[in-house]
């Protein structure tokens, strides 16, 4: 009896295993037939009308589809089919015509005048005019906009009279003025090097929103509901299942020409399931913000019906080094009140830290090589990015040790860790947040590299994002090293918002007067309008950054996007491939 019992147990266990094995065995059998499809691909056929493509994102959008109020990349995916701005950007990140066909500056570079396309209609048939441009920028500057939840006031912040209008001191906004129906002038308080960037915001229709108060606008159906949203773009937002599916149908009257596709559908699918559906063809493309994971690269590359788009991302992960701390409880951003962080005050120590970490190994190990080592905090896509002049900090534990020795940080008590020049215990805390698996995994690796050269690291427990960033903002006194990731703007390379001494996001509290002066020069007209001059100043700044090293850029992961080979006409730009979607077409196999 006893024997029988265990035998039966064993049998059922084996049976279960058999079922599991059969499941995974189905893998090969299932994939083969789908491969045949690609052979029929014939680019010579030319664009065809009709068809639907399905895009996937792994997190549902929060549901705010008004360009002036949305915040997340998930909404941006959908909005990029619906709304357009006056300007677009080409593959070199130069501004190109959008709703505006041409533009010119006045002599002192304070006024920027746009000639608008004249045959543009809103998706409900109303004509698009200069009034819509004025209306949009007026909203961005209007009092109550921020209180209603808006965060994009910076697009209007440099315009004449922004301060007076946004505080309610003036009823009249003269920052953007209509000259005639198809001519509009942006007036800046000062000559503005980022004028084109400021003018590139998506335009929303005046006739739809004019009777809605700014406070009610985020909740208005015109901002949230499919079928009520009106843009100028190639696709109309017609239907949705909130949190699951978003259906866009072609705008047959699109001003650049009728789109080839009938519709584009966005589906929300878990990251782990996206790949399977990409392979079966249920999903045609996957894009920002998360694309697919580097670990899955080989799997996706092996799919015969899928093409991968891989290019550098606008962003990177850094290990910041707190050069200064704010005085305890001080909420201002006044560098004169900061105190020096004794543990990291020596430039040589910071440089040693950079030498001690094998960043290429981190990229190879955690990102499967799908990323780049970057030595300056400007996005590599800009020609302002200087690849050669800033110090490269190629991995060298010996160099790191040498620098630490020179700086007087030596192991005097023989415990394997270096003491500071006064012979006291020297421990650097390393802090990191939860929420990005690769970053989480990089923290202990960094710790190991630094301890290998004798730096005693206190690797703190990771904190949940909301808690972590509160501490980071308060600039906790006992923090030395911190991990954080930055996504960068694709419209302008200026790093002032992150690294200028009084910038809120300058969490290292880096205060280098020479560097700040260079940043200022790079952004001060009239010289700064000369791109060569500006790039030169930014290059000098990048060298300063690299030498003084308020942060080490650990890695910049590549964007990994993919689309089915039946989708054609995809024109990849550095920041997206969801552009000129009216030229997308599919070949059915």
């Amino acid at each position: 009896m006893k024997f029988k019992k265990s035998w039966l147990l064993l049998l059922s266990f084996v049976l279960m295993l058999g079922i599991l094995a059969a499941c995974s065995g189905g893998d090969d059998a299932g994939t083969e037939p789908e491969g045949e499809g690609t052979e029929t691909e014939q680019p010579a056929e030319g664009p065809q009308k009709g068809g639907t493509v399905v895009g996937a994102m792994d997190t549902p959008p929060s549901g705010q589809f008004n360009p002036i109020f949305y915040e997340e990349a998930y909404e941006a995916n959908i909005l990029s089919f619906i709304y357009e701005g006056l300007l677009s950007q080409d593959e070199n990140l130069n501004f190109t015509p959008g709703l505006a066909k041409e533009w010119s500056f006045n002599d002192d570079q304070t006024e920027l005048t746009f000639k608008l396309e004249e045959n543009v209609k809103w998706q409900d048939g109303e004509p698009f005019t200069a009034d819509d441009v004025v209306f949009t920028y007026k909203l961005l500057a209007s009092p109550g906009y921020i209180e209603a939840g808006g965060i994009r006031s910076y697009f209007a912040g440099n315009l004449v009279g922004y301060e007076e209008y946004s505080t309610g001191a003036s009823q009249d906004f003269q920052g953007v003025v209509k000259v005639d129906d198809y001519t509009v002038t942006f007036k800046f308080a000062q000559p503005n090097v980022k004028a084109l960037s400021d003018a590139s915001f998506s335009i929303i229709p005046e006739h739809i929103f004019k009777d809605i108060s700014i406070a009610d606008m985020p909740a208005a159906p015109e901002s949230r509901e499919a079928g009520k949203i009106v843009g100028t773009g190639p696709f109309k937002f017609t239907e949705m299942v909130q949190g699951e599916q978003y259906v866009l149908e072609k705008n047959a009257d699109y001003w650049k020409g009728e789109p080839y596709l009938d519709s584009v559908v966005w589906k929300v699918v878990d990251q782990a399931v996206i790949l399977g559906l990409l392979e079966t063809g249920e999903i045609d493309f996957v894009a920002d913000p998360n694309g697919f994971q580097a670990a899955d690269y080989e799997t996706v590359a092996a799919m015969p019906n899928v093409e991968i788009i891989e290019q550098p991302d606008f962003g990177y992960q850094i290990m910041g080094m707190m050069v200064n701390h704010r005085a305890a409880g001080d909420k201002t951003l006044d560098p004169s009140k900061w105190t020096v962080n004794e543990d990291l005050k020596d430039q040589k120590v910071r440089q040693a830290i950079a030498y001690a970490i094998d960043r290429q190994a981190i990229i190879d190990g955690l990102l499967y090589g799908r990323g780049i080592v970057q030595n300056s905090p400007i996005a590599t896509q800009f020609d302002a990015y200087d690849d050669t002049n800033p110090p490269q900090y190629e991995y060298s534990a010996d160099e790191a040790k040498k620098l630490l020795d020179e700086a007087g940080y030596k192991d005097v008590d023989g415990d394997g860790f270096r003491e500071n020049p006064d012979g006291e215990e020297w421990v650097l805390s390393l802090n990191y947040p939860l929420g990005n698996q690769i970053r989480e995994r990089s923290a202990p690796i960094v710790e190991e590299y630094l301890e290998a050269v004798g730096i005693n690291i206190d690797l703190r427990q990771p904190k949940e994002a909301a808690a972590y960033f509160e501490d980071l903002e308060n600039n906790a006194q006992d923090w030395d090293l911190y991990l954080v990731g930055w996504s960068l703007d694709s419209t302008d390379p200026d790093p002032t918002g992150l690294w200028d001494a009084p910038a809120a996001y300058n969490y290292s509290r880096w205060n280098n007067t020479e560097a700040d002066a260079l940043l200022k020069e790079a952004n001060t007209p009239p010289e700064a309008f000369d791109k060569a001059y500006r790039n030169e100043k930014l290059s000098e700044w990048q060298v300063k950054f690299g030498e003084d090293l308020p942060a080490l850029i650990l890695y910049a992961a590549n964007s990994l996007w993919a689309h089915n080979t039946r989708l054609h006409g995809v024109d990849v730009l550095p920041y997206s491939f969801l552009n000129d979607t009216h030229l997308w077409y599919v070949t059915e196999e």
């Binding site: 019992k5 039966l8 147990l9 059922s12 266990f13 279960m16 599991l20 499941c23 893998d27 792994d58 549902p60 929060s62 549901g63 705010q64 109020f69 949305y70 915040e71 921020i146 209180e147 939840g149 965060i151 006031s153 910076y154 606008m217 985020p218 909740a219 949230r224 499919a226 239907e239 949705m240 299942v241 949190g243 699951e244 599916q245 259906v247 559908v265 589906k267 929300v268 699918v269 878990d270 782990a272 399931v273 399977g276 559906l277 079966t280 904190k463 949940e464 994002a465 909301a466 808690a467 972590y468 960033f469 509160e470 903002e473 930055w486 960068l488 703007d489 918002g497 992150l498 809120a504």
Partner: protein
């Protein structure tokens, strides 16, 4: 009985009130707020400070709480801080129906599968089928939700194409019977996944309860009286064996409503679980409060229902 019910329901009020105080206090004690993790180098922190001020997040905690209670009593749970332009009531309503559907389907699967198998196992212990059920039970308990969910998607959806892999409907705009069938099809995999562990454990409970009761004196007496095996089983055994199961099911209601985060994630099934978790991560205070209140209510209600069912299955239990 009626009096008892009224008394029980009145007790809900102070309990829920206490719950809101505790949750509100904990929420405020947690570090960070809805704006602490919003970081965009283009955006001046002053913008967020203005928004904090406008939302009243800088007011003293007791003022914030009283404001919340005042509105909540009037049925106004406020606007979400993260889902801009959406009211909390609207957000929860949208997710609630999905969660209820998933919960009901899961409970049905759990009960329909586990109780008959449990009874069978108890009546025919140590037979191959019993061993099979036992093995399934342990595997079911040991398999993590996300693994079973992904396996089910891979086999049944991606390889065989029988069932949809994500969402609650296949496309917007379908109606009537077609919509009903479509929703059921979308529910099958998530509810199987969610119900797996439950089914396995109820099966085990059922088996041991029935075995236990079958061995008791009154069953021997019943058999001695010459009752048919069916009468013994369905009239005497089952009623007694079901009591602990009902207690568990009462708790299960609350768990099903609030705890399906992983399953919802794998199937991108927009339910309350994921809303709850993202709201906590984002410090979306009004949503957290409302969901907590709702979950608290349903846990209390589930327990009350369990108590009522006791008196139905066991006439000796009386409430007055």
């Amino acid at each position: 009985m009626i009096q008892y019910l009224i008394r029980r329901i009145l007790v809900f009020i102070p309990m829920l009130f206490a719950l809101t105080v505790i949750v509100f206090a904990l929420m405020q004690a947690a570090p960070g707020d809805p704006f602490s993790q919003k970081m965009d180098p283009n955006i001046d922190r002053a913008v967020y400070e203005k928004q904090r001020e406008a939302l009243g997040l800088n007011d003293p905690i007791h003022e914030q709480y009283l404001r919340w209670v005042g509105n909540a009593i009037k049925g106004d749970f406020g606007d979400s801080l993260i889902y801009k332009g959406r009211t909390v009531a609207d957000l929860i309503a949208e997710r609630f129906s999905n969660t209820i559907n998933l919960g009901i389907m899961t409970l049905l699967i759990t009960i329909i599968v586990s109780i008959p198998i449990g009874i069978y196992s108890a009546r025919h212990p140590y037979t191959p089928l019993d061993y099979g059920a036992t093995t399934f039970g342990f595997l079911g308990l040991a398999t993590p939700n996300f693994f079973f969910g992904l396996l089910a998607i891979y086999v049944l959806s991606i390889q065989l194409g029988w069932l949809p892999s994500h969402g609650t409907v296949s496309k917007p705009g379908i109606e009537g019977f077609e919509l009903f069938i479509d929703k059921i099809r979308h529910l099958i995999l998530p509810s199987l996944t969610l119900g797996l562990a439950g089914t396995a454990s109820y099966m085990r409970y059922m088996r041991s309860e029935v075995l236990d009761v079958l061995g008791s004196d009154y069953i021997r007496t019943a058999r001695a009286k010459g009752m048919t095996e069916n009468t013994v089983l369905y009239k005497h055994t089952l009623r007694n064996a079901l009591i602990p199961i009902i207690t568990l099911l009462g708790f299960e209601v609350g768990i099903l409503l609030g705890g399906a985060v992983i399953t919802e994630g794998v199937f991108q099934f927009p339910g309350l679980g994921t809303l709850f978790i993202t709201s906590i991560g984002n410090r979306d205070y009004p949503v957290i409060m409302a969901i907590n209140l709702m979950l608290g209510f349903f846990v209390l209600l589930g327990n009350l229902l369990a108590d009522i069912f006791y008196s139905i299955v066991d006439p000796r239990i009386r409430y007055d």
